[in-house]
């Protein structure tokens, strides 16, 4: 290689390294909200002795986490598990990259077995095949799913490794959207309703619940008679124009927002201007923000947007105003990342310390649901700003929260008690927690 070429390559690579390092740097934002550790330190004297409450367990465990996505929530979970819960409870974590299918999940679990893992938290496959693999290798298996068609057998006790499942509280999520829809839609329904059912047709329970509740809410409000069963509409893999006796425009559009075809399919529907309500079962308010804004300007209409979302971007979403001066998103159902991840950790840890049966009810595995947060305005979003984010690392589900779910801290705790605690965690409870 010529000298000049070597010099040029060296220069190019040095610039590339500089660029990569700068791009990879994190912005540290200062916030006045106290960190979780500070709150734990300033806890009242009514709590247990600090040295006992905060004593790190002697036994170390290793937990593998099989991820399904590469979204911000995943990054938050990794940081929360590795840097916060890990040192507190003497647990090491092994994280997968985004897993494409069951084969990838199986390969990851096998790698974890080789690395001496004690448990697997599965966000991807959530089925008995993986549970059996864990059972054969004496691992505990916990999933991020409620009972559904692909894993009913797990909850019927098919595997002794399965300790239970954790997911968002679907009925409550569905009711948030249904109630909001009932309150905010017009008397005659003339504005039209576009529902993105996302992956309901593939059996995702949350999407099925939201789509079903939305259709039921519309049916109840306007006294509609659909020509098709709601179940078949929700489970349809093709778009459905929901015909009804009152001629109200209702369109159900399926498909994963992660696919390249989703947005190009939604855009023509929104640009017709026939839909004044856009309800999405996934976090899509940012993806559709521009097209909704453009349609509102062109057609001089106000499109109300309802979507699942993340706490970190909710305040930005509510801060953006459309051409009419209204907020660009009207309702966000946000997941409290650490509450859900922390509960998964707690169930897994209880199974490791006290056996899988400690998480059973009536001799069978059960599932735990974590309430999502209903954010209907900037004020609510701003209250939670700075919590459960990578920038601040202030975790809502701090040690105090997790300890309430652990049997080693509460010997009398049972799954029913855990469910009762989780049912009490709603927006108001979280606000109270973070204000302390």
């Amino acid at each position: 290689m010529k000298k000049s070429t070597k010099k040029l390559m060296a220069l190019l690579l040095a610039i590339l390294m500089l660029v990569a390092l700068t791009a990879c740097s994190e912005q540290k934002t200062e916030t006045e909200t106290p960190s979780s550790e500070q709150r734990a330190e300033t806890a009242g004297s009514g709590s247990a002795k600090p040295e006992e409450a905060n004593a790190v367990p002697e036994k170390s465990y290793t937990i593998g986490v099989a991820e399904a996505q590469a979204i911000e929530d995943v990054t938050i979970r990794h940081e929360y598990y590795e840097k916060y819960l890990g040192p507190l409870y003497n647990v090491k974590f092994i994280f997968s990259e985004r897993l494409e299918d069951d084969n990838a999940t199986k390969a990851f679990i096998e790698n974890c077995i080789d690395m001496g893992a004690d448990a697997i938290i599965d966000f991807k496959s959530c089925n008995s095949t993986m549970a059996k693999l864990c059972e054969e290798n004496n691992l505990v298996y916990v999933i991020n799913s409620v009972p559904r068609s692909t894993n009913y057998d797990l909850y019927e006790g098919v595997s002794s490794a399965f300790a239970g499942g954790v997911a968002g509280n679907m009925p409550v999520t569905g009711s948030y959207i249904a109630d909001w829809l009932t309150e905010n839609s017009s008397e005659d329904g003339s504005e039209g309703f576009l529902i993105s059912s996302c992956m309901a047709s593939t059996g995702v329970v949350e999407h099925i619940e939201i789509t079903t509740r939305a259709l039921e809410a519309l049916q109840k409000k306007y006294g509609l008679t659909y020509t098709q069963e709601i179940g078949s509409i929700v489970m349809s893999p093709d778009p459905v124009i929901v015909e009804n006796d009152k001629g109200i425009n209702i369109y159900v559009y399926p498909g994963s927002p992660n696919r390249d075809t989703w947005l190009p399919g939604i855009v023509p529907l929104l640009t017709t201007g026939n839909y004044g309500f856009f309800i999405s079962c996934a976090e899509t308010y940012d993806t559709t923000a521009n097209v909704v804004d453009e349609v509102e300007r062109a057609k001089n209409i106000d499109i109300k947007v309802v979507s699942l979302g993340a706490m970190s971007s909710a305040s930005l979403a509510f801060s953006n105003q459309d051409v009419h001066g209204n907020v660009s998103v009207d309702l966000v159902i946000a997941t409290c990342s650490t509450a859900q991840s922390g509960t998964l950790f707690a169930v897994t840890y209880n199974a490791l310390t006290n056996g899988v049966e400690s998480q059973y009810i009536d001799g069978l595995p059960t599932y735990y649901t974590v309430n999502k947060l209903r954010l209907a305005g900037l004020g609510e979003a701003e209250t939670l700003k700075g919590w459960d984010t990578m920038q601040t690392k202030n975790w809502i589900a701090d040690q105090e929260f997790i300890d309430q779910l652990l049997i080693i801290k509460n010997p009398d705790l049972d799954p029913a008690g855990m469910k009762e605690f989780l049912a009490s965690i709603d927006y108001d409870a979280i606000v109270e927690m973070i204000s302390r």
Partner: protein, 350 residues
Amino acid sequence: MSKIKKAHVTLYNVLFTVMIPLCVLIIMEMLVRCFTGVHLIDSQVDFITLMRRVVTSFCFALGLNCNLALGRMDLSAGSQMYLACILGGNLAMNLTGSLGEAAEGIFILLLSMLVGAFAGALVGFLYVKLRILPMVLGLGVALVYECISFIVNNNQGLIMYGKGRVLSNWWFLGITVIVVMAVMTYLFQYSYFGFNRRAIRGNQKLAADVGINIYSNAVVCYILAGVLVAIAGIFTTVYETRLYPVLGMSSNSYVFVNLFPMAVGMWLARKTNPVVGIFVGALSVQLLILGLGKFSVIGMSSYMQTCIRYLCWLVFTIYRMNEDRFGYAKERKERIALAKATRATMAAAG
């Protein structure tokens, strides 16, 4: 050729070039109106959506053409786009601080173009030094670039929610198209680089024998391709507000999606030049896609629309592969008619 004949030929070429998108527009308008009751371009939103898609498709297809026309199928183009947008975009957002919104958007675009140029330059350098087949090299580099894109910004890719709105404005899109067309037309048609490129395209060995540096030309082609796909990626990301990194060569999907407009463009380029041809090709294909998208209103799934689109591509490819046969059949007919006329004349004379 006389001036009048030249003018006729030029007029014919212009009309031919304009007729293709016009025909697509008319056909899709009729179909959409007939089946859905709405117009193909029903509002300003449709117009801006069309402009945006044409710009991104045009830039990406032109980027592919930089190398493909010279026999180099670069399968890393998609990953270069991801790397340029994710690395360049995040770097720009970290560096801009309190700049105004417009300046921030333009800075994101420029820095992404710079990173795209570097990404392309590296691929070009590896190609000329290692002499690996372009397709194989492209696959390998795609894997590496995808991994780097994945690592940057904690696997979050590029999130532009609430940022860079100037890049969504129709006038900015128009300016971008005009600038890209002007620059690329100059480079491809009137610069030494363009002359050399066309010579290499004709016969690489002859071009090398007469003293053209085919290696530097290849590297410049890769750099231009990197810059163009970065532009395409940024406009796509601004519209969709985020660009998630992908793995497992999923970035190749952008390459294959944009081969259709590129193929149509190269077919039209016979009448004009590659840049104009590819622009018109991108416009034609995006009109087709816009029209098919309208059928969502009557319940046609996006998968069916994709099937129809690729069916059109298949038909077009079959036509292109057999295009010569139509001309041959016509010439044969003319020869036979001439032979018969000559025989008749000779028979009458004799």
